[in-house]
Subunit: 311 residues, 2 copies
């Protein structure tokens, strides 16, 4: 019951109001697979790194029980490099440098032994590549995709084609609005459902995330944090926690999708407390349990019985 | 165990992308007391209307069991009039006209029989007036106040003085940031606690509301609605539902504050589905129950026992 993860593997230079790191490991594939590894132990990563990618970072992924035999090493080019600078509010950022490098040649052939994976998480890459991956699958049960404004603007038709083949889309609120032309998120989710996926996850950053499934809607608020250090990878951490939980439980009932929303939110809230992947390096079960309890306290209440509280 | 409500009573002209109403009843006192009346039946309203205020609107408030013997009628001036125009996203609005009229002379003397009210909701009025009300109280148990950017900018010191005497402040996220100079809402809540109130409610519009109490935080998401017709009064409806529930249960435990957040959110979500006060005119118990169930489905989940869901 493998979870197959496809995404970028990057070396990021990140500037936030709290500091700067240079060439720290990042990328959607890295964040998704690492986050998922805290909820499931049969994860296969597909990606590409360059000549400069640190070997110890590949070892780290292996130490998380992630199968990296599908990660190619480019013989000549360097690793995908992104340099981002966050503004004071941490909600907006500028891309200073984007060097695709090895990632430009990313054209994944899924290893034969990976093709029957039932759970698939397609990180934010070119929708043509996402579709190419889908076409190689022999036994897909649940496919989740992410995307971004760049693909909405540059390859909308390809994106629509890919959306026809996925079960879940995970997308930012502003991107959902841009994709559908609907300002209202309920309307945007409806429109996206018409395009293919039956489950819509709209990520709202510090305001949490919404799940739309059938006529049901579920809201997972973000944990209010005093010290958000680096939002890089928050959405991918969310997706990894979400799909890691789904793959580990093999259950897509509404009740279990709600849990996936909470587990994804919990791991994302841990991720943003340190720079790049640092927050997700060595998490103990108890630190994840503790964060899940914070979410429980944050959101759960008891309706009164006969006008009085249960408690 | 009366709930004393102080606030404006207005005639609003409202333009939204969906239509326009002219001289419809509005104002913080109206929305707070009407919303609260669905959760509690001993509500006393303090306010002032002008010569043009429709008698049937006073009768409506009385029909909700609201004691309006503290509502003055100005002998000469017209009712406070606000004309607002909402933008396409419904999150921003322009004030086209603000005519204080009778409200300019609002200088409430609390009737002697009202002064021992234990629960008090101070709608968004001049902090000097809020303080004057507080100074007339003989038996306050829980005082909640609202405010707005106008008072933060014009009367910050008076606002700080008033905050020293209240238990709960209800405030928008942007106003919380402006009041405290803290962008981060956890930091803003901490700062506000230092200024007096032990319970902080930060309203985030379509993203719901946060409660800070001691070291605890609770998030009530807003119900995602496809048809938001008119956001006017949403924050006041929230405050009314919140304080109506608290007064009715006489319980400020954390568990009951969480319920107050949900009840406030539920009545606010009903309020915005129609123009001005129309959504709150004739609510049946079952329509409120139904909305509360929507909030339950929106937010509640069951953690798994031994790795498997309870359900």
């Amino acid at each position: 019951m493998s979870l197959l993860v496809i995404g970028s593997i990057a070396l990021d230079t990140l500037e936030t109001p709290f500091g700067k790191v240079e060439y720290a490991v990042g990328g959607s594939g890295t964040f998704i697979s690492t986050s998922a590894s805290y909820f499931y132990d049969d994860i296969k990563l597909i990606g590409i790194v360059g000549t400069d990618f640190p070997n110890e970072e590949l070892e780290f992924l292996k130490s998380r029980n992630i199968d990296i035999s599908g990660v190619l090493k480019h013989p000549e080019k360097k690793t995908f490099h992104w340099h981002g600078k966050y503004n004071y509010d941490l909600n907006t950022r500028d891309s200073i440098v984007t060097e695709l490098n090895a990632f430009e040649d990313f054209n994944p052939e899924i290893p034969a032994s990976f093709r029957d994976s039932p759970y698939i998480c397609l990180g934010n890459v070119d929708p043509e590549i996402q579709l190419k991956v889908i076409n190689q699958l022999t036994n897909p049960k649940i496919i989740m995709m992410d995307t971004m404004n760049f693909w909405i603007e540059m390859k909308k038709n390809k994106l629509f084609e890919t959306m026809k083949h996925v079960n879940i889309i995970s997308i930012n609120d502003s991107e959902a609005r841009e994709l559908t032309g609907e300002y209202n998120l309920v309307s945007a989710a409806k429109r996206m459902k018409e395009l293919g996926p039956e489950i819509i996850v709209i990520k709202k950053g510090e305001h949490g995330a919404l799940l739309f499934n059938g006529n049901n809607v579920f809201a997972a608020p973000a944990l209010p944090l005093e010290n958000v250090f680096d939002p890089t990878g928050a959405g991918d951490s969310f997706a990894g926690g979400f799909m890691g939980w789904i793959a580990g439980t093999d259950d897509t009932s509404l009740d279990n999708l709600k849990l996936a929303m909470i587990y994804g939110s919990a791991i994302a809230s841990i991720s943003v407390e340190k720079f790049s992947l640092e927050g997700l390096r060595e998490l103990s079960n108890s630190s994840i349990e503790e964060r899940l309890n914070s979410f429980k306290n944050l959101t759960q209440f008891d309706f009164p019985v006969n006008g009085k509280s249960n408690n």
